[in-house]
């Protein structure tokens, strides 16, 4: 008996070749990497360890572990996940589960099916990676990973005919590239559902950065050290000079002697109507980084904003109803006449001039003394600013620690502070003489990125200033401007030597690095603006611009379904065209004939010709011999002996249809 290596391979696939396995393991590792920083470290370690041992087993021609090892190991891993996360749903636990599954599956890749499962879990992991990382480089990484996974799939799919790695890679590249137009089409047309459908439950315990609802001395200093981007702004028209860019956040009107905090928020939806709209207006787009807080930054005083589920508070700050756990883009229009409207009933006046009894006595005495020297409130206030300006007060990131009477200590002993200290002191001084005052926190200034023509506002631009009630309006006064005018004019980097801060801030020293950082930020911003922010509104907008007004989700789904069906039909038609010469009537009849003989005796091996097969059937079923020989002979003549005329094909069709052999030979005939 001669050996038939190729046929053996087809019937019982042997272990994959080393190359195949390397691609498969590579695909698994590439799919694991995006999740590695987010899941508990033991999970990626386990994936790497199992991948390495799988390769070791293959290269040393060892047997794969038996079920006795695999099943307990799997159960152990599942228990580990349960113990780590106390659940098996959610992004972290879910991806951990997938990671463990794909690693365990690697240990039992015996056949094509197992390898295909590994690849499909890889695809799913890569898809889930978008929940982790949506930076502009992420699609490129994922494209590479998908390429590797597809290569591995192609290598395992060609069972009877192994495919070289280079060729598989080339094919996979073509497949991935061919998918790109479809991807873009789906990106544009796939129905976007507004609301929480897209947002998965957030990973808990995420650190919050940004402005908080209260301010103690030194709080803003922490922010000033952070180079993280708070938000980006693009102005529709002229870009105002940095000096007027006061981005209002939470308004802190409650003072306890040491720290400022917010009053319980009251939402006044009708407030917008009270704004005098005759002032200069400015419109801008803000893309806010997620910070798990409620504040939507805006210039004073916002009269229009596009963010949903948000409101204007009584202090004219914009607040979202839910914490900002995703990047949010909105357009806002502000009236920039420099003051914030409001009204001041007596009760409110009492609250806004309240100072706790016995707090900061020296400050209050000094304020009363100073007020008595000036005729007007305004004169008094500018005298305070003059004091800050002319006396030895210092603007520093590292002020001394302040005790309970923080303002007293700041004004009369340490004399050095950050914007928060000055704002706090100024507001206390104003309140001490009965002028309603409050601290406003937010951001001031920002960095213009000329490449994308937008402003980057970082956490280090966090600022605090004061609003005082003068002449029936809230008026902004920035005491920091008196101490360190360069901070307001040029930003934080100029005001304070931050060489010691290190990190990206230090990098920003060199012009080239600065250019690089700005370019990268511009790419990021364009990505956020054009890709990530493509939500239901942008979709409707785009579609109506190309002539599909008011597309409803239902219409989109319908259109997509029809489009998909057409695509599939087209692919099917192409396939048909390609196989047309083989799928003619004669081929169909031959298949039918083979099906019938397959039931009666055995199926035709793919490599058997008609005559050979007929002979084999005849040997097995002597009762059918004549009939089978005649039919297969007729087929061979029609198929191979020159052009078949249709009458003979028709006769052959009748014969085939009439041929219905019994599944088992009749009892009296020799089997």
């Amino acid at each position: 008996m001669k050996q038939k290596p190729l046929r053996e391979r087809r019937q019982e696939p042997p272990q994959e070749s080393a190359g195949q396995l390397i691609w498969l393991v590579g695909a698994v590792l590439l799919a694991t990497l995006p999740h590695a920083p987010f899941v508990h470290p033991w999970i990626p370690l386990m994936v790497v360890a199992i991948s390495a041992s799988r390769l070791w087993l293959a290269f040393n021609r060892k047997r794969l572990p038996s079920a006795w090892l695999r099943v307990p190991l799997t159960l152990l891993a599942f228990t580990g996940i349960l113990l780590t996360y106390r659940q098996i749903s959610g992004v972290d636990a879910g991806s951990s589960l997938l990671l463990v599954m794909v690693a365990m599956k690697l240990l039992e890749t015996r056949g094509h099916r197992d390898r295909a499962i590994v690849v499909f879990i890889c695809y799913f992991l890569l898809f889930a990676a978008f929940l982790r990382e949506q930076a502009p480089w992420a699609p490129f990484y994922l494209a590479i990973a998908v390429l590797a996974a597809t290569t591995a799939l192609l290598q395992t799919a060609r069972r009877d005919q192994p495919i070289r790695a280079g060729r598989a890679l080339w094919l996979a590249g073509r497949i991935v590239l061919q998918a790109v137009p479809l991807m873009i089409l789906l990106f544009v047309l796939f129905p976007r559902v507004p609301g929480p459908f897209w947002s998965l439950p957030q990973r808990g315990g995420q650190a919050t950065t940004g402005l908080s609802d209260s301010m103690s001395p030194g709080d803003i200093t922490e922010l000033a050290l952070s180079d993280k981007v708070a938000f980006r702004v693009r102005f529709d028209d002229d870009i105002p000079r940095g000096a007027s860019l006061y981005w209002r956040g939470p308004v802190l009107a409650q003072f306890n002697g040491r720290s400022w905090s917010m009053r319980a928020r009251s939402y006044l939806p009708g407030l917008v109507d009270k704004v005098d709209r005759n002032g200069d207006s400015i419109t801008y787009d803000i893309t806010l980084e997620p910070n798990n807080q409620h504040w939507l930054l805006a210039l004073e005083t916002p009269v229009y904003w596009s963010a949903q589920r948000s409101t204007l508070t009584s202090t004219f700050a914009l607040a979202s109803f839910s914490p900002l756990d995703r990047r949010l883009s909105y357009t806002a229009t502000s009236i920039v006449s420099g003051t914030t409207p409001g009204n001041m009933p007596d009760r409110a006046r009492a609250a806004d001039t309240y100072l706790p009894d016995g707090s900061n006595p020296r400050t209050r005495d000094w304020a009363r003394m100073l007020r008595s020297r000036h005729e007007t409130d305004r004169g008094f206030l500018s005298a305070i600013l003059d004091t800050f300006r002319n006396q030895p007060y210092f603007y520093t990131l590292t002020p001394g620690v302040l005790g309970a009477q923080s303002v007293d200590e700041f004004l009369f002993s340490t004399r050095e502070g950050f914007c928060g200290h000055y704002a706090s002191a100024f507001a206390v001084l104003a309140r001490a003489v009965g002028i309603p005052a409050r601290v406003v926190t937010g951001y001031q200034g920002g960095e213009l990125n000329p490449l994308g023509n937008y402003w980057i506002v970082r956490q280090s631009d966090a600022h605090a200033w004061v609003e005082v009630w003068l002449d029936g309006r809230w008026e902004r006064i920035d005491p920091t401007a008196a101490v360190a005018p360069e901070r307001i004019e040029w930003g934080m980097d100029v005001a304070i030597d931050r060489g010691s801060v290190g990190g990206a801030a230090a990098l920003r020293g060199s012009a080239f690095a600065e250019q690089l950082l700005l370019s990268w930020d511009a790419v990021n911003t364009a990505w956020n603006r054009w890709v990530l922010a493509f939500g239901p509104d942008s979709q409707t907008d785009l579609l109506s611009r190309i002539g599909i007004p008011e597309p409803s989700t239902r219409h989109l789904i319908l259109a997509l379904t029809i489009g998909m069906a057409l695509c599939l039909a087209w692919i099917w038609w192409l396939q048909q065209q390609r196989q047309a010469p083989r799928r003619d009537a004669l081929a169909g009849l031959y298949r039918l004939l083979c099906q019938r003989t397959a039931r009666a005796a055995r199926p035709r091996r793919p490599d058997e010709g008609p005559t050979e097969y007929a002979r084999a059937i005849a040997a097995r079923r002597p009762d059918l011999a004549t009939e089978v020989q005649r039919l297969f002979g007729a087929y061979a003549r029609l198929r191979y002996d020159g052009p078949a005329d249709s009458r003979r094909v028709a006769r052959f069709r009748e014969q085939v249809r009439a041929f219905r052999p019994a599944a088992t030979p009749p009892a009296d005939s020799p089997a």
Binding site: K2, K4, L6, D160, R582, D607, P610, Y640, D641, G642
Partner: protein
């Protein structure tokens, strides 16, 4: 209408040709017992105007097959015994100075025959081998700057000892490619061997063999073979087979286009002998191993495997449409 008339005419011609070819096969079969398949392959090879390489152990009947073919076909037969000291001139012929004519006169060598048996071709040095192989390709020889045409038809049946035997110069791949087909004969079946042991000297029978067809008949048979139909489905199959030799990881290299053309022309002759009007997959499969075997080479762990096995594996891995 004319089409079907032409087809019927073709049919007749094919049937007649088949009858004649069958007579050759059965006549040779009377002398070389139990080797029906090999005889048919050899006849197909000659009808396809190719040269035949028989590779087997000494004494299994290689020479007998060649001589009986020559006798049955009525061809003028010469034999060249290749040895390690054979010179090209011993094959081609030499120019001898004729004193009376005062000129060189060419004495044709044993190559000038219609059927040449090159016995144990791999015992000669490459130089002598290439003299033969060049003649096979060109159907002419060149000696002292003059070109001499070889007789038509011109067939070479070369025999070769298995290359592992001592004192052999294996033919390089490029020269093996010049042989249309390589066959082995193998030991006879036991009952036939018994007949052989009991019976007459087979060589003695050769003297009695009369040609069953003429040289003109051979040309006619060759033309008839060329009229055997090649259906699209068959060409698809043939191409799939050829591509498989190029893609299969077991093989060092795939078949050349020349090999592909050879494959189909032999398959046509085989189909004609089988009485088929068109080449069927089975015809192709029957000649695939002999035509392809000496032109492929196993790679890596398949290197030691014999060519027939590899060819078989290729056949097994390609579905018949």
């Amino acid at each position: 209408m004319t089409d079907s008339v032409a087809r019927i005419a073709d049919h007749d011609r094919l049937a007649k040709a088949r009858g004649k070819a069958e007579r050759v096969v059965s006549r040779v079969g009377e002398i070389v017992l139990g080797k029906d398949r090999e005889i048919r392959l050899a006849v197909s090879c000659l009808l396809a105007q190719g040269h035949l390489l028989i590779e087997d152990l000494p004494g299994v009947g290689k020479t007998l097959l060649a001589r009986s073919l020559a006798a049955a076909l009525g061809l003028d037969y010469r034999r060249i015994q290749f040895t390690s000291d054979l010179l090209p001139a011993d094959v081609i012929g030499v120019s001898v100075f004729d004193q009376t004519a005062n000129a060189f006169h060419f004495h044709p060598g044993p190559l000038f025959a219609q059927l040449v048996l090159a016995d144990e071709v791999n015992r000669a040095t490459p130089k002598a081998q290439s003299a033969l192989l060049e003649a096979m390709e060109e159907h002419q020889v060149t000696a002292d700057g003059k070109t001499y045409d070889l007789p038509e038809p011109f067939f070479v049946i070369a025999t070769q000892n298995p290359t592992y035997q001592v004192g052999t110069f294996p033919l390089p791949e490029s020269q093996l490619d010049r042989f249309l087909m390589r066959i082995g004969l193998g030991y006879p079946a036991p009952e036939l061997e018994r007949k052989l042991l009991r019976g007459d000297n087979r060589r003695g029978l050769l003297a009695d063999v009369e040609p069953v067809i003429s040289v003109e008949d051979i040309a006619e048979l060759q033309a008839a073979a060329r009229s055997v139909h090649l259906a699209d489905a068959l060409l698809d199959y043939a191409q799939a087979l050829i591509n498989q030799t190029r893609d299969a990881p077991e093989l060092e290299f795939g078949l050349s286009p020349r090999a592909a053309v050879d494959l189909l022309s032999v398959a046509r002759c085989w189909a004609m002998l089988e009485g088929h009007r068109g080449v069927r997959p089975e015809d192709l499969k029957a000649v695939f191993g002999p035509v392809v075997g000496h032109r492929i080479k196993g790679r890596d762990q398949y290197a030691g495997r014999d060519a027939e096995t590899l060819a078989e594996a290729i056949l097994d891995s390609v579905p018949v449409p």
